[in-house]
Amino acid sequence: MSKKIRLLSYIETASMILTPMQSLRSFVSYNPLEGFTHLSFEQALKEARIFYPIQGVPTCSMGRKALLNKSIDHQVFEAILHKHLPDMTIEQVLNNSSCACCLMQDNQSYSEVNRFIIKYITLFLDEGQAAWHVPERHKGFFYCFGNMMQNDTVLRQKNVFMQLGESSLDVLYDILSGYPEENWLRILRYQLTQLPGWAGFVKWRAQQRNYQAQQQYPITLVDYLAARLVLARILNTPLCKEFANRLTCPVGMLWLQAWEETYQKRLIQSLSASSKLFQNKNSRAVDAQFVFCIDVRSEPFRRHLERSGNYETFGLAGFFGVPMLYNSFISKEYVSLSPALIEPIIRVKQNSCSYTRQAAEQYKSRYALLSGLYKIIKSVPLYVGAAFTFVEFVGVWLGLVMFLRTLSTTLFARVVEWVRIISMPKVCFAPQKDYTNDGHGLTLKEQVFYAYTALSMMGLREFAPTVFLCGHTSQTLNNPYASALDCGACGGNPGGVSAQLLACILNDEQVRVQLKKRDVIIPENTVFVAAQHNTTTDQLNILNEKFLSRPIAECIKQDIENTSKAVRNERSKNLPTISSPQMRAVDWAQVRPEWGLANNASMIIGLREFTYGIDLQGRVFLHSYDWALDNDGRLLETIMTGPMIVAQWINAQYYFSTVDPEVFSSGSKITHNVVGKLGVMQGNASDLMVGLPMQSLMKNYDQTHHEPLRLLVIIQAPTLLVEKNIEKNAILKQLCDNKWLSLMVFDPSEGKLVTYVPGGSWNIEENFNKQ
């Protein structure tokens, strides 16, 4: 018995190296090597190469191109090369086309098990693509697996390893007990990393308590592993193989170092100029304040907005500090609007603003009507016999739509918009803020708590007459990776709802009274307005116009309009091919609607004056933070253990997807095949694809757009405070000490910039001089 418990703990340990993979409907970035962060970066790569055929560092061709287009400084690279490989000259590196970047080819003997697993698991996990699902699916994966195997002629004859109805743990134990216990971990790890996508999805799903499909049709990693081992025994393949010894290129790590150093140097140089710009700024009282998500795409918008008028901007994680499970009226499911780090506990329902209640009812019934109609038409061809003539009924109409959509994208989008406007009443939806008896909403105490934390986190104490809270979303068509472009802090969902909720809370009289007791004084005439930043077209949609009925509103709107135009102009220079951003948003043939978070490289935590007016090229996560409000370092701790970690995950996801596209990216979109309404496979059948598609990272097949750099974090705070937090949190210490990110601190009292050196000491950066 105790051996079985030990087996469970082995499985737990083995699955540490597996990255959870979420359903693509809300894409969440993880560090693909999260399970290795207890090791130093280089050591982790070495360890990970045992399981995955990866390089982990930029390839030589990538490095050479970067050197040529100057994103790696020639001198920096030369210095680093000289230091680490003194007998190699830069010419040698540039000309040596046959560096050891080639990886070993594993033989295909194990793929037979993979084939059966892919077949069975797609059938079981399907969330609505097939019309006919595995019978008796509610009995769990392992039961269905046994049943399916019984009906698979080849397997049935050879199956002597399990009977129907046995528990997966028993079967797993039976098979493993034929092997010495010290080999178990190796076997389990090997089995889990054979199809890391599907296994990662099972791992993620098994942990979800609120996931409807998991509640109905349970599956666990034990089930998965047991199924694999049974298949391996039946098909007579070894349970574990010697891991291939993979060669790596000695120059790889140097490319990375040089690339990071170049970026660091340039960033520090430009930061030196910022405070001068800030002093030149108009010192009139601000007209409006804007709070944006820390997302790198907010940076250009903030910069242009500040330029266009007398505005102040702030950065805060896009869920605005309120982790919630959101239930919109069109769905039964709850969507988690919070970063993956936090498990949301607050349930919030969609509601409509009071003045549009009637229209909302109408909206709901019309929606039910039209979606019902849509569903009927979708369901007819599923019926055998009816499909034949039915495709002819709809063929002409679909052909018409197809021609219009492809040949005149914008015209078609306009028609759709027009149809939507005439068929649906205009309603202003908002989350239901106040606590109701069925367990939804927030109590007053909670409201005050979240409001206070959010305001303190971004250091907002003096309020302009209008404060905009801007969530963000993207707008794309026919794109399985749409959610990868949405707000990562909202778990890969649009962030407008979170903004609405906080705005509602802050506009509440009672909350303001309570806040006053805690020394946060919001002037009577200040209003909070929720807005949503569309990152594809760079429009800022105000979600609750009613609050904006002031004389200055028109002026602000005009400035927002101008800002949008300016940001679009700036961004379209980087986009490949000539389509305009607006066209990309509505084009169903577009594989690169926007660049998303590509090219993210650093995170700056501090006051806006530290970065004011500098063109950070949309590569920086900007989090507002005022150390003066944070004596004990609590706020900084929250930022460092929350948004900073999320930023590191996003950064690592982009990094590894770029340097190892074969393993950590989902490959080219042009051969993607959406499976089970949960993810994509490549072509006929494959592992569930993890990471970002090639089109989100590359300009074309051989030019990368994303520069693979590890995250650089610059914090504007007393060094002591930062040090204290690093010592206190093992995760932070791990990340900093193991070089998963580099950390710099700008100490405002001393005016010096210091770099964290693994181990805990600080290095003063000489070439930074802040006036």
């Binding site: 097939a130 109609l373 495709v391 040949l407 042009i670």
Partner: protein
Amino acid sequence: MLKLFQADLLSVIVCSYVLAITALVYSFSRRYMSGVPRETLFFVQIWLLAMAVCLFMISDHFVLVLFAWFMMGWLLSQFLSFNQDWAQAHIAARNARLYFLSSSVFLGAALGVIIISHDIWQISVLRSAIVSRSIFLGNMSLFLIILSACIQSALVPFHTWLISSMNAPTPVSALMHAGLINAGGLLLIRLSFMFYEHPYVCIGIVLVGALSAFIGSSWKLVQTDVKRSLACSTVAQMGFMIMQCGLGLYTAALGHLMLHGMYKAFYFFNAGSALYKLDSVRVQKDSASIFFRVFMLVFGGLLAIVLMRIVCGKPINMIDANLFIYLFVAIAGAQVAWCFSIWPVKRYLTCLVAFCLVLFLGILPYGMFARFLHQCLPIDHAQKLSFVHIFIAIFFVVWWLYIVSGYFINNFWLYMKLVNTSQPFIHTMTLQKRRR
């Protein structure tokens, strides 16, 4: 003088359809394929492929026909391995190439038999010879031609190349399912004069087509990925089209291949949206009374027949195969009505009106299109109904009712049979991470 080409209204219609679809695929791919290696080659190949189909439709000389047939297959299989460094794509392409090659060989053999035995080199000459009954063809060449068409149109049991073709870029799939795959039907339509006088051959074609139609649409029920699901549906639709050819309803087959082509191209283009889940509709499953549902079923079927009769204008008689068109129109109409009866609208009248409107919008363009083709192309030779036909019709109705009733869902044996018979070639699946 050596006559190489012959263009008639049929070839004009098909060519303009193919060119329109190709233009669409081209326009789509300009954005979709941007930044892939060998981008220009892709666009060139798309147009070459369109030209091959057009050449096939306008050529009269056997050598040209065969050349065009061969080129279609060859170019298409090139597309399947468009991603050069993907071993599984190469295998899929190689397998498909084998199928196409054998299809070409069979067609070549059939034409060769005709050339050797009658010294006839052109389709037009062959047609006048057959129509004037100055020659009789052996069953061998008919059999080879039908075989060739079945392979090209991926009928069961030659479907695996199509199901394994998803390693190709999405626009290629769209082009393939909207255009290329129909070549089998086009071949039968062009050479229809060869066998419409042979009822046994025609019944054979009907059986082959019906088998695919039946199996393909059953496969579709269990597919979990969007592209294979579309491919299975195509197998079924191709079977239906070939079946129509066997019934002698050539214009109906032509209309079907075009309308289905647009339908399928739309869904391939739209494959990226397959993640979108509409779980929002609160379908009141048991709220509608069974009487209402059965009433809707019967009413829908009858209404569809009446509408079709008015719009299309084909007389309903009980002796020839035109009855099949009405049968399937009735099934589709009844099915739409059945689905409408669980619509989340409580009032029966609203439900009824909405259904009539939708049905009208569906049948109007379809019926008019059928009427147009029927009137300007005098190629139909509807077969007389036989017992086999009636048996097939009854079989379809029974199978359809079985599916509608929902009794099948716990049949594990059938489920796994459908899953296992619709697998792609083993070696075309990407079972391990690709290596550099």
